[in-house]
């Protein structure tokens, strides 16, 4: 019963940019698997039928007038959660790679943390990345683990649950930069005193698209990530004050 009421206080936020092929099915799957939950699809300036198909599938839809990136879409979701009294926000990608059956486990872990990351490499599932991109992720993980004082292996995972403190924080300070939405958000949370945890989740293969193994792209990715990380740490912390409930 406790689990039920927790789902009713939870908002699933799905950023969607031109995802008309998958968004309807993902919304329906989330609503069937997680009864009582509210789903907000944030249409990030799509030029296709994403908004209409998401609404038909039973989701609330907020349509951004132009593309803001995942960070902008997520902050819209956090602000909706604050305005409408939701305690928790769970981010789920609208391409179907996140398995909604892992959501109760993420919410359970919010008992002991403000931000819970569903990690792809922590044992479950068959998701794997190799080559330079993996090294980049290992470097990021080791730096962020130290900052968050916990073991994090998958810092760029978008499958995460935020508790009330993190929701209030992110409604004001969710970064918009590329990679900021995953990496910088983690730094913002730890610097604002939120506890971060990760739990293993299984990840499905994306419906479309092939992961990149181009070393130049991996190097550029690492460089941008390190830069994002560096600035996240040196930003003045006075900008991160948040009311604690």
């Amino acid at each position: 019963m406790r689990g039920m009421s927790r789902l009713e206080k939870t908002l699933i936020v799905m950023p969607a940019f031109n995802e008309q092929d998958s968004v309807g099915n993902v919304v329906r799957e989330v609503l069937t698997q997680l009864p009582g939950v509210s789903v907000l699809v944030v249409d990030d300036g799509s030029t296709d039928a994403t908004s209409r198909l998401a609404a038909n599938a039973g989701a609330l839809v907020a349509t951004l007038p132009f593309n803001l990136g995942v960070g902008g879409a997520m902050r819209t979701g956090f602000r909706y959660a604050v305005q409408n009294g939701f305690d928790n926000v769970v981010q789920i990608d609208s391409d179907g790679q996140h398995d909604p059956s892992s959501v109760p486990a993420l919410l359970q872990a919010l008992d002991t943390a403000d931000l819970v990351i569903g990690a792809r490499f922590a044992g479950e599932g068959d998701y794997s990345v190799s080559g330079p991109r993996q090294w980049a992720m290992v470097v990021l993980a080791s730096i962020l683990s130290r900052a968050a004082q916990t073991t994090l292996t998958d810092t760029t995972s978008g499958f995460r649950a935020s508790g009330p403190r993190a929701v209030a924080l992110f409604a004001r300070h969710y970064p918009a930069e590329y990679l900021g939405d995953t990496i910088e958000a983690l730094v913002i949370a730890t610097r604002a005193g939120c506890t971060v945890r990760q739990i293993p989740v299984s990840m499905r293969a994306r419906a479309g698209g092939i992961p990149s193994h181009n070393p130049t792209k991996a190097a550029a990715y690492l460089a941008r990530a390190v830069l994002a990380l560096l600035f996240a740490f040196v930003r003045p912390s006075s900008t991160l004050r948040v009311a604690t409930r």
Binding site: L60, V61, A62, T76
Partner: protein
């Protein structure tokens, strides 16, 4: 320096200053953005009317070739203006981002209100 180039220098400087002032007058340029252009224009005017001030200033800061001082100061001013513009763009981007989020949330709220209203209307009709 010939009389022609002397007059040309003054004319171009006056033209540049005139454009800045006219844009300010027509509110096409806000004061805080125009400040650097006014400073640069004023300095250029002084130097074009009294070329000796350039030699004096170059000598004062120890620059051997006076024109190099012109290049140095010009590049420094352009750099500052450019940086100010980048910063303004960042501020504006943050504002448009917030506005876009607001408009999406308000639109959603209007849709919800309309739906609940049409629901209660049809209730009272039946």
């Amino acid at each position: 320096m010939s009389t022609t180039s002397y007059i040309l220098g003054i004319a171009v400087t006056l033209l540049a200053l005139g454009v800045v002032i006219e844009m300010l007058r027509r509110r096409r340029l806000r004061e805080r953005h125009a400040l650097w252009w006014l400073v640069a224009g004023a300095m250029a005017l002084v130097i074009s009317v009294f070329p000796a001030t350039l030699d004096w200033a170059a000598d004062l800061v120890g620059v051997a070739i006076p024109t190099n001082l012109v290049f140095f100061v010009s590049i420094a001013i352009l750099f500052l203006v450019c940086l100010q513009n980048s910063s303004e763009v960042t501020v504006l981007e943050n504002k448009t981002r917030t506005l876009a989020e607001n408009s999406a949330l308000l639109e959603l709220r209007i849709r919800q209100l309309e739906e609940s209203r049409s629901a209660t209307n049809s209730d009272t009709e039946t």
